[in-house]
């Protein structure tokens, strides 16, 4: 009976693994098929071709989209990590009047749906003449983000206070204590923040839809949506182009996962961040 149970568990695990991984294989395989064979559901293409990749490269300014996305993503991730860590340290280390209510306010902002601030924030960037540029996609991250502030503060609170008091007695100023002692001790949480925000910024579609107008400024997801509109169901039914572009958009995230797998899993398990 126990043996049978074990066999069933393994059978179920393998079946689900196939179900979860197969769409990737299907998509990757389709990207190497000519147009007429895209929906033939063969795992290995009958006619193997690189034409789709060459065609996507010709149809879309893909290198530019990649560059735009990478720029936005790196700036967004670095900015939010530095400022959120500063704010988190401010809330974790110092005692000051109003600390509790103020941190409550940080948490309360997480409850506010993005839809409420979306329009006025657009109007701010519009009045600054920034609509159509990449700036609105990342610059807000210069002011920290409630979720990461929460995450990093939790981590800082778990550190022993002695090294900081010792450094203080040795004459180190607050900035030095933060950058030289607190941040290095908090490396796992910093890595989680960087990875989470890298993924969030890379995959975002809504903000690029709102702020980007010209296809030379597109990020990869925004460009992928444009390719779908042009070559997919609205137009020429060139699904092979759409699929190939989807593969190109997804692969960097798969690589990111395998680089930071341990941190991703741990970060999600401990924070409940989704």
């Amino acid at each position: 009976m126990r043996r049978l149970g074990k066999v069933l568990v393994w059978a179920a695990l393998i079946a689900f693994t196939v179900a979860f991984i197969y769409p990737f294989i299907w998509l990757l395989s389709a990207s190497f098929k000519p147009r007429s064979e895209v929906f033939d559901h063969r795992i290995l293409p009958e006619t193997f071709t690189f034409d789709n990749y060459i065609q996507v490269w010709h149809e879309a300014p893909l290198a530019l989209w990649m560059f735009n996305t990478l720029l936005v993503t790196v700036l967004a991730a670095v900015a939010v990590t530095i400022t959120s860590a500063m704010v988190a340290w401010g809330f974790a280390y110092f005692r000051f009047p109003g600390r509790g209510p103020l941190f409550g306010l940080v948490l309360a902002t997480m409850m506010l749906p993005g839809a409420v601030t979306m329009i006025p924030v657009f109007l701010i960037w519009n009045s600054l003449g920034m609509v159509g540029t990449l700036t609105p996609l990342w610059a807000q991250n210069l002011f920290g983000s409630a979720f990461y502030i929460f995450l990093l503060r939790q981590f800082f609170l778990g550190l022993p206070r002695e090294p900081f008091e010792a450094a203080k007695i040795d004459g180190a100023n607050n900035w030095r204590i933060f950058t030289r002692i607190a941040l290095p001790l908090c490396k796992p949480a910093v890595v989680v923040t960087l990875l989470f925000e890298f993924q969030a910024a890379w995959t975002d579609l809504m903000r690029p839809l709102i702020y980007l107008r010209d296809s030379t400024t597109f990020t990869v997801p925004r460009g992928l949506k444009a390719l779908l509109d042009q070559f997919g169901f609205g137009g020429e039914w060139h699904w092979e182009i759409v699929m190939t572009a989807s593969v190109i958009t997804t692969i960097p995230m798969i690589i990111l996962f395998f680089i930071g797998q341990k941190h991703f899993v741990k970060g999600i398990a401990t924070t409940g961040g989704k």
Binding site: F20, Y93, L112, N126, F143, W202, K225
Partner: protein
Amino acid sequence: MRFIETRAALLFISPWLIGFLIFTAWPVINSAYLSLTDYDVINDPNFVGFDNYVTLFEDPKVGLALRNTFIYTVMSVPAQLIVSLGLALLLNSATKASGFFRTAFFLPKMTPPVAIGILLLMLFNGQSGLVNGFLGVFGIDGPAWTTDPDWIKPGLVLMNLWTVGSSVVIMLAALRGVPQELYDSALVDGAGWWKRTLRITVPMISPTLFFLFIVDSINALQSFTEAYTAFFGSGNTTYSNDAALFYAIYLFQQAFEFLHMGYASALAWLLFIVIMAITAVQMLVTRRFVHYEGGNP
């Protein structure tokens, strides 16, 4: 000394304070004001009192969008919870290679939502999609998932189940925290697998189930990218997409396609109230079923 410490603290939290004033506090006030105006970005806002809120209740698309969003949420959230609990239980009972399977379940979560919208169109295509091909093996004639209004939302629910990986990881962490002694003593009492799962596992991880229930619901009520990618935008001229018109999509269209900034602000406040109300009801109703080790807080 006290003053110096306060000053240092304020310097450290100043990025958030400034950002809060510019990107949260002011937008909230401005959004409340804009919701009482007609505003198209080009001309000055024109104060119209509560007209936008009256229009909300007369606009058939608001009713449609709310209904679509509720139906989707009611199908999607329980499905996500059940599937992720099932997968976490499976992972928890496999002693070997559970890391490999966890990676397999998590990987789809890395896919950009725009690509998930595209995968939906292709995998669930009524004639040539992989899903109907699979159903065909069992002699089932699958529906037109992406064009039949009755099947668009179930298709979206199934597609989104592909990304339960993060919930699985959270639940697995909770399962690993259940003390083994509880199972050992239940085994001595002769309790079977079902009984152990229902009487020990589910109560012990109920705070996590509760957390995911609330968070998944809030997310589902704001669903946008997958459905927008697959069914909206300049490309779709071929078929009706009313069945996929989620509330967030309608809000986006009003704001950024029709430039009805005032009306869209009123839509945003209605969404805020709806989410708050639903979350409050969920908390009141489910709280009594949540078991906290060491007493309820």
